[in-house]
Symmetry: C2
Subunit: 340 residues, 2 copies
Amino acid sequence: MGTSLRDVARLAGVSVKTVSNVVNGYAHVSPATRAKVEGALSQLDYRPNLSARNLRQGRTGMIALALPELDAPYFAELSRCVIDAAAEHRWLVIIEQTGGALERERRILDGVRDHHVDGLILSPVAVGAEELAARTDDTALVLLGERIYDGPADHVAIDNVRAAHDVTEHLIGLGRRRIAALGAQDDTASGTAPLRLAGYREALAAHGLPETVVKVDRYQRAEGAAAMARLLASPEPPDAVFCFNDLLALGAMRTALAAGLRVPEDVALAGLDDIEDGRYSTPTLTTIAPDKNQLARIAVDLLKQRIDGHTARPPQEFMAGYDLIVRESTMGGGLSRGAG
Amino acid sequence: MGTSLRDVARLAGVSVKTVSNVVNGYAHVSPATRAKVEGALSQLDYRPNLSARNLRQGRTGMIALALPELDAPYFAELSRCVIDAAAEHRWLVIIEQTGGALERERRILDGVRDHHVDGLILSPVAVGAEELAARTDDTALVLLGERIYDGPADHVAIDNVRAAHDVTEHLIGLGRRRIAALGAQDDTASGTAPLRLAGYREALAAHGLPETVVKVDRYQRAEGAAAMARLLASPEPPDAVFCFNDLLALGAMRTALAAGLRVPEDVALAGLDDIEDGRYSTPTLTTIAPDKNQLARIAVDLLKQRIDGHTARPPQEFMAGYDLIVRESTMGGGLSRGAG
DNA sequence: CTGAAAGCGCTTACAG
DNA sequence: CTGAAAGCGCTTACAG
């Protein structure tokens, strides 16, 4: 293999223990000994064997981040934040993609105790609260970005109900009266969709406005485009659409513009996630911007606490902040004319 | 820790070796013994300790994928493909972000021999061929997506010169005569920019057309937007722009539309990467679509060969395929009017 | 302040 | 076909 502690010890003329002390920065090593050892270390270009260290310590220095798919911009941006936050604890991050499939979420939850990671951050889509609560594995787990009630594990998210309420209020405040929600889903165990729907309904109800709800299977551009086409084909099309994420909104925008509608004059569009695409689309996209760095940092810090066993408190919910970012897709700005 | 082979052996009344044989699927175990062992394995819910296995075998079953940043859509899409391809070899993937910084690329290359991964797929930006050639580490390495001449390691990419040539020819074929290139860079050791620039120049030269080259620091939307503004401010603005990636093109599109120009009537725009954003922008974006699955698969397979030591051949260059995808941003379609 | 020894859990020659 | 033993490289009580 490579150079081992024993090789270094032999060259420096000390014991393996002493070399280990130097490598790990323990205090009580005499300067002379330390110098000898450090000389040998650099002469042999010693690298600790992490598998051996892990075997001994029961730690791997790695965590897993499991999310639906890396190529959804929201998850890509969030992953970046998680990797950066993990780096501060000198953790490496293994990324696993679930595709939002129950089977794969289960396999990851089950595989976690194979001892290759110290903990797991999971962005669950399909797996339910009961199932999570029933898991026998005690590997540290933090849930990120979807709400699971009666938390079986620490959980971080934004307040989805309030965020959805804020967006809807914004649209109402602009004078829109036929406001559709795009992105409801057939009941999943743990989705955000019901929460965003609840916030939307709350706001409409407070103003006595009617609701129009369109379902999708997945939160992707193509689904947003197709769902928007259905909305536009209805007898009384909406004058505003709150899309449950930015990808849906960008797909919907494409359909609206391609149909010759003006955004926002004919139909205002808002999303949620604040992915970078929406800052450069034409028109630019009004959205809710979750504080992704905060989400990631809280998730990583909670995982750290659990891994270190510093805490025995019951699982808790943590909220990260968000902002409503108003852009052209609801406020105009002259760039929004379709070609119809 | 958890259940060890010894626990299983004790319960089954056999030796540790026999349990190991069953776990690893070795052939010569009597049916009766196998049944006993399997009973004990499932009764104790045995999970192999991967650190121990790795220590013994000198393999970790993990590879690292190092790229500039995960939240650039091209890299997010490529990462997805790499993770999927790696899964076929039962590898897990650790993702590291370099930010395109020399210092961080070096640290990753240097850290690879810390034995936590069996191999590295690196998408280099800053590090040079000489430096790579001089590395003393023998951890398996495959370079992905940027060209480094006189390959110090196996390398996979598309033919950037030819791809750039194809895009430029397409613009020329549409009758454009003032075709700018957006995305040149100050000389980096290994960038794709010079290759794309070469293809662009070749095509222009073949038709006796003049060149206009705009530099950027990074391949991001904001840089594309700013660079496009500079182009539009010139005395004789281009009637077409070949942007060296899709993000630059989407930024440029935003600037053009915001300035009231029609795309493609006033200025045609093309990119390279085929990220999903460009399939839903208005107008949709003409681009080069590299075969990302093929890129990922070749990279992973090459790494596998190196790790397994099946090959001692010198480093080689591999080309993946690509397609020119013509969309509205060069062909029109009526959706492209700015608001000027 | 330093050393000799045990042991983390696994796999692998080596016997039988 | 199965077992007893060594050893991968490290850290950690335990002595001195």
